[in-house]
C-alpha cells in the first residue's frame, strides 16, 4: 500500500501539501514494519514510506530512528505477541523501541502496520513518552486537506483544528 501511495504521489495523482506544518514544526518519526520492509520488500519499500511521510509533514519535520529500514528493531507487537497474554514480556521487548522513539524527540510515530500501531500506542502510555501512534492514511488525508473532525482520534490536541476541510460544502 505504501508503495502505491508513493507511486501516486510521484505521478501527481495525490498532491499532499506539507505547508500546514511549516510553522508548527511538529516532528514525526516512522516505524519500519518488519513484515513489509525486512521480511518482504526491503529498503525500497522503506524509502517509499519516507517519501510519503516527508511529502505530508515536510522534509525538515521528519526524524529517522537509528537503526532503521531493514535493520530496524521490531516494536514487539508482531508474531502474535499482542494476543499471547505475555504483556509484561511484550512491554519489556518494546523498551528498545520506546527509547528509540524518545531519542528522536518526535511527537508522532507513523506506524505502517496494525500491530505496530497498537504496540507503540501502548508503549507511549506505559513508559510515559507521550508520543502518539498514527496510521499513514491519517497524515496523508491531513496533508490533502480531507481529514475530517471525527477522523482525528489518534491526533493530539494541537492537531484537532489544523487543515480542517470546509464542512459547508
Amino acid at each position: 500500500m505504501y508503495t502505491l501511495y508513493a507511486t501516486w504521489i510521484r505521478e501527481g495523482k495525490l498532491k499532499p501539501d506539507p505547508s500546514w506544518n511549516d510553522e508548527l514544526g511538529i516532528k514525526f518519526t516512522l516505524q519500519d514494519p518488519c513484515q513489509i520492509v525486512r521480511k518482504s520488500f526491503g529498503d525500497p519499500a522503506a524509502d517509499d514510506m519516507r517519501l510519503v511521510v516527508k511529502a505530508c509533514v515536510g522534509e525538515k519535520n521528519f526524524i529517522d530512528m537509528t537503526p532503521n529500514k531493514s535493520n530496524n528493531f521490531c516494536c514487539g507487537g508482531g508474531g502474535g505477541f499482542l494476543q499471547s497474554g505475555y504483556k509484561e514480556q511484550r512491554l519489556l521487548y518494546g523498551q528498545i523501541k520506546d527509547s528509540q522513539i524518545k531519542k528522536t524527540g518526535a511527537t508522532y510515530c507513523v506506524t505502517g502496520c496494525h500491530n505496530c500501531h497498537a504496540q507503540i500506542h501502548e508503549l507511549g502510555d506505559h513508559f510515559g513518552g507521550g508520543y502518539h501512534a498514527v496510521h499513514a492514511w491519517t497524515i496523508l488525508a491531513l496533508a490533502l486537506g480531507v481529514l475530517g473532525r471525527s477522523e482525528r482520534i489518534h491526533l493530539g490536541e494541537e492537531l484537532q483544528e489544523v487543515n480542517l476541510p470546509d464542512s459547508s460544502r
Binding site: N71, G79, Q83, Y86, Y93, H135, V146
Partner: protein
C-alpha cells in the same frame, strides 16, 4: 557455558524436522556461535534465553526443553537476527516450528481464540465481525461522512462491497469496523481522490491471521484461501493489503 558439557548423541529430531522443511535446511547446521543474533535481539534475556542459545538447544536435541519453553512466544519472528547473521541462519523459522510442538489446547488462549473465531466466520474476522455487521458499519460511516462534508456526495465517495470487476480487492483489519470505524474514512477518501476502482469482499475481508501465529498451517490456509477465492470470484486483479 554449560551447553558444552552435555553429551552429544548426534540426535536432534526437532532440528532435523525443521531442516527438511526449509530451503537449504535454513542453514541450521552452520552456526559459528558468534552471538551477533543474540546481541541484536530484543527478546534476548527473557526467560534466560536468546536466539543463539535456542539454536544450540535444538542442535543438542534438547527437544523437550524447547517444547516446554515459553520463549518462542516472546520472539516476534522479526528476522532481525537473520539480517545480522553471517551464515543467514533461519532462527525465526526454528521458532515458528517450535510453536507447533504444543498441543492445540496449550496454545496461548488469546491467539487460539482469535484463530478459532476467524475460522468460524466467513469474513475471517478474529473479532467475530459478521458480514452483516461489516456492511452495516461501512454504509453507516459512508452516510455520516457525506452528511458532515457534503462535498463527498458530489465527489461520489464510495465504499463498495462485492463490486464485480473492480481492480483492487482491499482487506481491512477488524479493529476498524469493530473499534474505530472512523479510521476507514481517510483511506476511502484517498482512494477516491486517486480515482481507484476498488472493493471490499463480503467474505474474507479481514486482514488479520492469528492461525498463522500458532503455526496452524491448515487454519492459516483456510483463511487465506477464503480471501483469495472471494477476490477471484469478483474478478479483481489486485489483492491489496491496507498495510
Amino acid at each position: 557455558m554449560s551447553d558444552t558439557r552435555i553429551k552429544l548423541k548426534g540426535k536432534s529430531p526437532f532440528k532435523e524436522m525443521v531442516m527438511k522443511l526449509l530451503p537449504d535446511g535454513g542453514n541450521l547446521n552452520d552456526c559459528l556461535t558468534c552471538g551477533l543474533c543474540a546481541s541484536g535481539c530484543p527478546a534476548t534475556g527473557m526467560d534466560d534465553m536468546d536466539p543463539r542459545k535456542f539454536l544450540r538447544m535444538a542442535a543438542l536435541g534438547m527437544d523437550e526443553e524447547i517444547r516446554k519453553s515459553r520463549w518462542p512466544w516472546f520472539c516476534t519472528m522479526c528476522t532481525r537476527c537473520v539480517h545480522a547473521c553471517p551464515m543467514k541462519i533461519n532462527i525465526p523459522q526454528l521458532v515458528f516450528n517450535a510453536r507447533r510442538l504444543r498441543p492445540r489446547d496449550e496454545m496461548p488462549k488469546g491467539i487460539l481464540g482469535s484463530c478459532d473465531m476467524a475460522l468460524s466466520k466467513e469474513t475471517n474476522s478474529a473479532m467475530g465481525c459478521t458480514k452483516e455487521d461489516f456492511s452495516f458499519v461501512v454504509e453507516d460511516l459512508l452516510e455520516e461522512i457525506k452528511e458532515e462534508y457534503p462535498i463527498w456526495e458530489e465527489r461520489n465517495l464510495q465504499a463498495p462491497i462485492d463490486k464485480e470487476g473492480a481492480e483492487f480487492f482491499i482487506n481491512q483489519n477488524s479493529r476498524e469496523p469493530m473499534i474505530e470505524p472512523e479510521e476507514m474514512g481517510p483511506l476511502w477518501k484517498i482512494l477516491n481522490l486517486v480515482g481507484v476502482d476498488w472493493t471490499y469482499g463480503s467474505a474474507g475481508w479481514a486482514a488479520e491471521n492469528y492461525c498463522m501465529f500458532m503455526a496452524d498451517d491448515n487454519g492459516w490456509k483456510t483463511l487465506t484461501e477464503r480471501s483469495a477465492q472471494k477476490c477471484d470470484e469478483l474478478g479483481c486483479t489486485t489483492f491489496l493489503n491496507t498495510e
